[in-house]
Amino acid sequence: MPAKDIVVYPDKRLKEVCRPIENIDEDILNRARDLLETMRFYSHSVGIASPQIGNLVRIIAVDASKNKKGLKVNHGELIMLNPEILDWQSIIKTREGCMSVPDYTGNVNRARKVSVKYIDLEGNEQQFDTEGFEAVVLQHEIDHLDGILFIDRIISKNTDLFKRKNYR
């Protein structure tokens, strides 16, 4: 199966909230397979969300082990249906780029540790905790399912330094 073309902003599909999956039927399995194939095709891609190939359903594929930053903590290649962040801890600043927003990177605040749950392709509910690179990838991809791009989360550089305020 060939890899799908990546939907690029300003395509409106990237700003839509995707519908949850209720039945894992042939159609959903095909869409999941397309997503996985597309992530495998782009050798640098460690995560992809369904709307990035034009499917407005809640499926993401991730593989943090493809990048050396994710080697220490990762759960390998995953297809996740209806992924959800249950809990998070502490914040890290990352600089992110996205296949759907080429030639642009920005500073984003993300949780360092997250607990996620999802449905696997067999319909079983799964849950795990992760941190660092894989946690960032998951947050970035789950955001796509809600029409949120990393641009929506950029923090201004100037606020990195203290604002001049009189506390007296």
Partner: protein
């Protein structure tokens, strides 16, 4: 089609309407804002812009078009042409090796000079720099930088380098590698 590029800086006492005033002139003249950064330094609002336009406009004419902004808003405006060769260099840039560096301590002369001079000697390029000094009896000086270092420089070697310079200056420092995640 070939575009013509200019660098514009605008600075003056802060008040509402500066960005709108400058943007209006650029819009009316058919300019695109390619890259820009604006911020408040003390009470001075400062804009730096790289703009492009389809037709070749003389520096004098461009300066004249800002007459209203200069007089009504009491801003100083400077304009410089950017040659095509300079832009080509920008396109051929190598992959970056970025670090965030914070240097801070009691205010004293020579912090910016000491650190930047050491960086220059090691071909470490400062790509973003902000400094601020607090008010009060013992002012605190803070310098936050993003630097692009040659590829053989690691977080460890950069830390060693800063340790030497900052001990001499009697200030604290920290280094963080900037990781870009292409997702």
């Amino acid at each position: 089609m070939k575009n013509f590029f200019y660098a514009i800086t605008v600075i003056g006492k802060d008040k509402p309407g500066i960005v709108a005033g400058v943007a209006e002139v650029l819009y009316e003249k058919g300019f695109s804002i390619e890259d820009s950064s604006s911020t408040l330094l003390k009470d001075q609002f400062s804009m730096i812009l790289i703009v492009s336009v389809k037709e070749n406009i003389s520096i004098l004419e461009l300066k004249k078009s800002f007459y209203k902004v200069r007089t009504d808003l009491n801003m100083s405006v400077s304009v410089r042409r950017i040659e095509t060769e300079e832009l080509k260099e920008l396109e051929n840039k190598r992959e970056e090796n970025l670090f965030m560096v914070s240097v801070y301590g009691s205010d004293k002369p020579g912090i910016v000079y000491g650190v930047s001079d050491e960086f220059a000697k090691h071909k470490i390029n400062i790509v973003d720099l902000r400094t601020r000094v607090t008010k009060g009896e013992n002012p605190l000086y803070v310098m936050i930088m993003e630097v692009d270092a040659p590829h053989d420089i690691t977080e460890e070697t950069l830390t060693k380098l800063l340790n030497k310079t900052c001990s001499k200056l009697g200030v604290d420092y920290s280094v963080r590698k900037v990781e870009t995640y292409e997702l």
